[in-house]
Amino acid sequence: MSEGWLGRDVISILDFDREDLEVLFEEADRMKSLLANGSVPKTLSGRIVALAFFEPSTRTRMSFEAAAKRLGAETIGFTSEEGISVAKGESLADTVRMLDSYADLIVLRHRYEGSALYAAEIAVHPVINGGDGRQHHPTQAMLDLYTVREAHGVIDGLTYGVLGDLRYGRAATSFILSLGLFKPRRVYLIAPPSLEPRAEVMMLIERLGIPAVKARLEDVIGELDVLYVTRIQRERFPDPEEYERVRGAYRVTPSTLEGAKRDLIVMHPLPRVDEIDPRVDSTPHAWYFRQARNGVPVRMALLNLVMGGGAS
């Protein structure tokens, strides 16, 4: 039974169930057509959204900002450089208390795992996790699932490959776990041995009954309906030498995709470095730009549901 969205914190994708996400996706569909018609009602007029980004982010922050403004809300907050100076003097707890007193909702990105949950315990207003360290990135998972649904019409029954840094990459982890809310046919985990999912993530994969198996891309490419590629992020590595060993360990090119199904979609949370050859961009497999464009309608839907903007 869905708890409904109003006033909820958004910390982990696993805080939600399938029914919640279906409500969100329908709302995102509605937002998308309102955007296309240029007729978005200002349902959040007079409301303030705080964007507290302690870590660098362009896409997530700007798409939240665009989403809030489209719905008529004002935004306040800071970006990473200012965030760092905030971080120098003040505790996260005090910063959250301050923002909570100014705004109706806080979107937080922070490099410490658990920061969003902690902020949600302190704040009276809802907190949306815009990424906490290597742990969760629930709104990315929401727009990723929405993109799969858009491309294939369904999320269930598909075969997924998740390629890249499955250990430190929060987008990949959140995406894999989000599939536990649906019924994928199979989920291939494709990662260098040092970047396989952490023990607690493997535990959740098992508990959620996600049909996940480790694989090599060349062995499974012909089975995939979705190939989710992620960047290897240097800052997630405790050991710089480990980073040097795995960077460039994989790259998706037109020849990688030769044996793929015609309707395979390639996704990437962006920005990419060199994991996807630009020559893939012009193939029908390239879905990462459409995926990125879904960031605004999905976050509009999320803000509207959590802040109770309603339909008018």
């Binding site: 996260l92 795992e113 658990g114 949950l117 902690y118 360290g133 023990a199 607690e200």
Partner: protein
């Protein structure tokens, strides 16, 4: 009178007042004593049996402490390092309380997250660490904030080693 389970004929006098902690996993007897704050050099009279046979858990340790009853708040800590332990409180040579410890479902404080970038490890934030039990055998806890797993070995080290 029959010798209690597993003492293998080792002669240990019965205690008059005090505590017998039985079914301690092998090698953890001294950890249990440390949690109880019992010093090996006094004032309590202590018997420690290490690696004796047990019908229940194969091999086990036992400790007997004359003149000491565990405080309620010690029980959770004992359960964390010796999840199979049974506590017998003895008064006038009779067992008046006998209970199995149970590792708590949730632990607040006491333990420390192993992940240095967990919010609970940031001194400036003053977050009380919180863990939930995710497995009983072996004992595994999970940090509520960052999801990291804490193994039985790490728990024993934290509660009885140099950490914390």
């Amino acid at each position: 009178m029959r010798s209690p389970d597993g003492e293998e004929g080792l002669v240990v006098r019965k205690i008059r007042h005090g505590t017998v902690i039985d079914h301690i996993p092998v090698g953890r007897a001294l950890s249990v004593l440390r949690i109880l704050g019992v010093s090996l050099t006094g004032p309590h009279r202590i018997a420690v049996l290490i690696n004796v046979e047990s019908r229940k858990i194969g091999r086990k340790d036992i400790v007997k402490i004359e003149g000491l009853e565990p405080r309620l708040e010690d029980l959770d800590r004992i359960a964390l390092v010796a999840p199979t332990a049974t506590i017998n409180v003895v008064r006038d040579y009779r067992v008046v309380v006998k209970r199995k410890v149970e590792p708590p479902r949730e632990v607040r404080g006491i333990l420390r997250c192993v992940n240095p970038t967990c919010i609970t490890r940031q001194e400036r934030e003053h977050v009380t660490p919180r863990f939930v039990r995710v497995s009983l055998e072996p004992l595994v806890y999970q940090c509520v904030y960052c999801g990291s797993l804490l193994t039985e070995k790490e728990i024993v080290e934290q509660l009885t080693g140099g950490v914390g």
